[in-house]
């Protein structure tokens, strides 16, 4: 008779999650399911709203990556207007986006995941948190906060608010940047660059201690997807779709984002509200692909900034084709922070940065539009259809966390097979399953639009459904 284990809730991820581990008759883990139990009905909620309101509305889905939703929604709006926005607006949108990636990645690395690395996966959970980190290394904790503050300052300087701004609109942005704003952002740059370079140096030394995790935390072949520039470089704001396989070979390239549905299908399973996007040519579930920092560095031929390019060359040494282990999402995140800091510096030096021409004015000229950008956690699509008058008649949001759903399930399965022995759940296994999921930095607020804090529960079950053991963490 097979058995089942459930982990519920996963702490330090945004939203609510439950993990079920199924054992076979021999007591080996045969399957793992990462359930998202919060219902997502957001697309319905958008119907009847003007597409011009959508950037402001969708930015309220999440407190961590509101800028990504706002930008992607505004880009879908640009498509509905059928305008090319002024270069000055594109520059400011990019600046905003880089600030957002810095703050989000800094939160993930310094505050959610670094306690695992610095304090160890077997440390008592009561101590394996940021307070333990502060006690062990207050400088790292403080620098992490400052780096996140830098990203937030970029966002606030540009948009007037740290969250839920309505500065980005279809057609451009509401206000140009002032010289005082430019100087305020520039004042942070030396510290931000030093912090991320020191952190990269630290991380490259630290990785040696985590060979075991790197071997079993989502280390399997899959496709990777991300946006690239016309010459195949790293791209976060614009660009076209590229897929590479586990060997690093390009399997699809330069696909315009409005045609994403030609290659991406969405499957559903009865045990979770989170959908399962897959690469259509390989079918479901064989078309599993990953998005986010690791995927972006795997698909990009180069970064296009000097310091990040040097780091990318070292990063590539981790794999013979694509870098496969989800554990290296952390490393990729740090390289992306460095890249964003370099790009911010570059944009601030642009001679036409303060141009007042930041908006293209038009009426709706199309009935359907797709917006896309690389959110911190991966490629984000907003697809809208509108009626006469510009009211939304249909909306579909394809979220990064959803696109990593198949890979997160596979990661849980791999970790559980390695660490679960017998019919009892041990703390070290639970920590590692959680840490494996955290490597993806899933945002279930985005994928389900949840409110409040949401806990995790893990259940171990026999094949006949009998509950053998259960552990939980976080608020109930």
């Amino acid at each position: 008779m097979g058995q089942r284990i459930v982990i519920d809730p996963v702490t330090r991820i945004e939203g609510h999650a439950k993990i079920t581990l199924l054992l076979d008759d021999q007591g080996e883990v045969s399957d793992a399911r990462f359930h998202v139990v919060e219902f997502r009905g957001f697309e319905k909620f958008c119907e009847g709203r003007s597409f011009r309101e959508m950037p402001g509305i969708t930015s309220r889905i999440c407190g961590i990556c509101p800028v990504s939703h706002m930008l992607t929604s505004a880009k879908a709006g640009d498509e509905l207007l059928a305008v090319e926005i002024p270069e000055g607006a594109t520059r400011l949108r990019r600046l905003l986006h880089y600030g957002q990636i810095v703050q989000s990645h800094a939160l993930s690395f310094f505050h959610l995941s670094s306690p695992d690395f610095l304090l160890g996966h077997d440390t008592d959970p009561a101590k394996r948190n940021v307070m333990g980190l502060i006690a062990a290394n207050p400088d790292v904790a403080r620098r992490g906060i400052r780096l996140r503050q830098f990203g937030q300052e970029v966002i606030e300087t540009l948009s007037g608010k740290k969250i839920h701004s309505t500065w980005v609109v279809p057609g451009g942005v509401d206000e140009p940047l002032t010289s005082a704003g430019r100087d305020r952002i520039a004042a942070w740059l030396p510290e931000a660059k030093e912090t991320i370079q020191r952190t990269l140096t630290f991380w490259k030394r630290e990785m040696d201690r985590h060979q075991d995790e790197a071997r079993v935390f989502g280390n399997f072949p899959s496709l990777f997807m991300g946006l690239v520039t016309p010459d195949g470089g790293l791209e976060h704001y614009d660009g076209k779709i590229r897929f590479v396989d586990a060997t690093g070979q390009i399997v699809a390239d330069q696909l315009p984002t409005p045609r994403f549905h030609e290659v991406i299908g969405e499957a559903v399973e009865p045990w979770t509200y989170l959908k399962f996007p897959y690469y259509k040519p390989l079918g479901y579930p064989g078309g599993m692909y990953r998005v986010g920092p690791l995927a972006r560095l795997n698909v990009a031929s180069h970064c296009g900034t000097p310091l990040a390019d040097r780091e990318l060359a070292e990063f590539r040494q981790l794999g013979r084709g694509a870098v496969l282990s989800a554990f290296h999402y952390h490393y990729a995140r740090l390289i992306e922070i460095l890249y964003c800091v370099e790009r911010i510096e570059e944009i601030l030096a642009h001679p036409d940065l303060l141009t007042p021409h930041v908006m293209a004015f038009a009426r709706r000229n199309r009935y359907e539009g797709v917006g896309c950008c690389e959110a911190p956690r991966g490629t984000l699509f907003h697809h809208y259809k509108v009626k006469q008058g510009g009211l939304i008649s249909w909306a579909n949001l394809i979220i990064a966390t959803g696109q990593n759903n198949l890979a997160m399930n596979q990661t849980v399965l791999q970790i559980a097979r390695h660490y679960v022995k017998g019919d009892k759940l041990k703390e070290g296994m639970l920590n590692r399953v959680e840490a494996g999921i955290r490597a993806f930095d899933p945002c279930l607020s985005c994928s389900t639009h949840a409110y409040g804090e949401m806990p995790l529960r893990v259940e171990l079950r026999a094949a006949d459904g009998a509950l053998l053991d259960a552990v939980g963490r976080g608020p109930r």
């Binding site: 330090r12 909620f45 300052e153 607020s445």
Partner: protein, 167 residues
């Protein structure tokens, strides 16, 4: 090093998801405070709204004269306003993308050397579905919450003045 702008006043931090009905009530309370006309005796408040509490708020918290956290809560009679003193504490889930107010106070204390006095003012919600409207019973509680915040800030200001005069 770039400086953070943190006024030395009573800091009011209101948070919640404005797309989840009553979860947004704290934002409405903040709007109530913003709409007050200046008058003698009105305490100085530094108002801040957020989707959730995050680590970078700790520096401003550490410099505030006092902090009033405002949030919706899931339990209790809808519309009930409750105000309780809170202290630094790691809590059960201190490292989610969002922090608890107690954990934020602990960040302030551990990283910046000071956790000011703080209260959590919570309003029991009725509905937490998708929507931008706050339920009528919760909306009626907003003026009570505003008055409660003003009372608390005045009490702190009075206590501070008394301490200063003794010194």
């Amino acid at each position: 090093m770039a400086e953070i702008d943190c006024p030395d006043a009573v800091l009011v931090i209101a948070w919640g998801n404005p797309l989840r009905e009553d979860d947004a009530v704290a934002w409405h309370v903040l709007e109530g405070l913003r709409s007050l006309k200046p008058r003698p005796g009105l305490p100085a408040l530094h108002l801040r709204h957020a989707h959730q509490l995050t680590p970078e708020m700790a520096e401003c918290v550490s410099r505030a004269a006092g902090v009033i956290f405002v949030d919706a809560r899931r339990h209790g009679t809808p519309g009930e306003v409750r105000c309780q003193a809170i202290a630094p504490e790691a809590g059960a889930n201190p490292l989610a993308h969002s922090l608890s107010p107690q954990a934020l106070l602990l960040y302030a204390e551990q990283l910046y050397g000071r956790a000011p006095r703080a209260v959590l003012l919570s309003i029991a919600g009725e509905r937490f579905g998708l929507g931008e409207a706050v339920s009528p019973v919760v909306r009626r509680a907003i003026p009570r919450a505003v008055r409660s915040i003003l009372r608390q800030a005045k009490a702190w200001a009075g206590a501070a003045a008394e301490t200063a005069s003794r010194a």
